[in-house]
């Protein structure tokens, strides 16, 4: 199969196109803008809707409208823009409107910087906006996966009627790798709930207001049941050399790539290290972590943040093993410094 050399952002955008997404609403922000630029170029040629909104707020609400109309629709932004979108994401979650939201993440808080970071982990995995809700969060680790998970994200969104976020570091959005172009998705979910005009049926209403406390609680219970269902079925993680590992690194996105390189190095020096790479950040693959904690002696959360995912690992390990943390922000830790940290940890724990 012929390969194409793509940037992560392009691969993700092309993945969306191949998933049948023909609507994009967005607002420019580095380092996510290529996704908008790709769609702006592509859609006029294949018949799709690209619209640069006046604000992130407008963009996410256009997504709300297009999703309500039954379309596969996407928006992309980066940290500060994702914060602005939270109002709409909360509404989308409650209205159960499927859509894909991309965060090509950069460092915060505030304007922060434009270099890669994973410090929007809390925002992404805890809901982000007001109310008791979750969105699904997928974390690709390579350019091919940017395309594959984009397609997967649309399938999951429609299957569960839930907004799905793809969170990828700025680096992954910008870097290039060869990609196999996936087949165009040909079969789509029926959406009898969509507001498309009530010809030959009763009117549909898409609403998030529930003034009666009973109804409000029922709605929340309904959402929670859906989340439980998703947790049962959709947790995803990749493991690497965890079977005999004393130290297990947990890292997602590009940090998992860095970790792999370090693990190979450190293993040469006799330290048994393995890797768990969460692919779904929500639902967090706590089952995999829990299982590995039967044999692992210590976990290391490796993040481009000041320590966020470490909390989910601790919840999964539930006190059975210590969980250490190493992270930086704006600067991606390189394999050498990760190796150094692993060797230090091994020495401290007498694992060498």
């Amino acid at each position: 199969m012929d390969k194409v050399l793509m940037k992560g952002n392009e691969a993700l955008a092309e993945g969306a196109v191949r998933a049948g997404c023909r609507a994009y609403f967005g607002y420019p922000i580095t380092p996510s803008s290529e996704i908008a630029e790709y769609m702006a170029r592509k859609y006029p040629k294949i018949g799709g809707t690209f619209l640069q909104a006046e604000s992130e707020l407008a963009a996410i609400n256009m997504v709300y409208g297009a999703a309500a109309a039954g379309a596969r629709v996407m928006t992309a932004s980066s940290g500060p823009g994702i914060s602005l979108k939270q109002e709409g994401i909360s509404f989308l979650a409650e209205a159960e409107l499927p859509c894909v939201i991309v965060n090509i993440s950069r460092g915060g808080p505030g304007l922060g910087g434009i270099q890669p970071a994973q410090s929007d982990y809390f925002q992404a995995t805890r809901g982000g906006g007001h109310g008791d809700y979750h969105i699904m969060v997928l974390a690709p680790a390579g350019v091919q996966e940017m395309m594959d998970l984009a397609i997967e994200a649309f399938e999951l969104a429609d299957k569960y009627r839930i907004p799905v976020m793809i969170m990828a570091e700025g680096t992954l959005g910008q870097m290039m790798e060869p990609v196999v172009l996936r087949e165009q998705v040909a079969e789509f979910y029926n959406k009898p709930w969509a507001t498309t005009g009530c010809k030959n049926r009763k009117p549909n209403i898409i609403n998030t207001l529930h003034l009666s406390p009973d109804v409000l609680e029922q709605r929340n219970v309904h959402l929670q049941n859906k989340y439980i269902n998703i947790k049962l079925r959709e947790k995803r993680a990749e493991t690497y050399m965890t079977e005999d590992a004393d130290i297990v690194v947990v890292a997602f996105g590009i940090m998992a790539r860095v970790a792999r390189k370090s693990i190979m190095e450190v293993r040469k020096q006799g330290v048994k290290v393995g890797l768990i790479r969460p692919i779904t950040l929500w639902p967090f693959p706590d089952d995999v972590v829990e299982k590995v904690s039967d044999t692992a002696k210590i976990f290391l959360s490796l993040e481009i943040s000041m320590g966020q995912m470490v909390e989910d690992i601790k919840l999964a390990v539930n006190g059975r093993r210590p969980v250490d943390f190493y992270g930086r922000i704006g600067i991606t830790p390189n394999p050498e410094e990760v190796s150094k940290r692993l060797l230090m940890l091994a020495a401290e724990e007498g694992l060498r």
Binding site: L5, M6, E10, S33, Q174
Partner: protein
Amino acid sequence: MRKQVCEGISLASLSIYAGGYGSGKTEVALNFALEKAAGAGEVVLADLDFVNPYFVSREVKADIEQKGIKLIAPSGEFFLGDVPNVPAEIIGFLRQDNDMLLDLAGDEIGALMLGYLSRYVALRPNYDLYLVLNPYRPFAMDLHSIKELKVLLEDTANLKFTGIISNPNLVEETDIDVIRKGHQKVLSFAKSFGIPVKYLTVEERFYDQLFPEYRAMLKKLKLYLRPDWLQ
């Protein structure tokens, strides 16, 4: 002692690298600059990628300055910012007798910078404006798209291309076949534009095998900006 450029007598060169996003301009410019720096004279490399400052020459500033290249790039706070910040000294350097290379950002957005500088570029007695092409990139895979890009770039830059640099690769997954097939494609594009392909750039691991085939046109590339954890 720096000399001002005088028409007709200068041996100074100016090479400008333009092209689509991710066509390999920066790695090509870096390698060509280092090759020049290995010879004599002052080499100036201007990193004008303000659009999306990921994988830009200024990441290896210290390294290349050690090797005798003067790097012009946004400095201080703007070093890795996305604020357009044309270093004022670039105009001064353009008017001096030096070997200079301009590395633009991708697409017509990158070429806008050249539009801005074109009146100074025109003062140079000779310059090369290269279209860097990797036919494995989206929007660079067919003649129609390339043509669109070329026209857009030339209009924006207010200058015409003088040559093409063929840079066919799939990074780690490149093999001889990928290069040959890709280069064939670039040759056919070049033919329909009537612009010569000046160089074929390949990673150094392919150089020896391909040299008998392509001879002087072949240039080897060392990838300076590719993270080592990508393999």
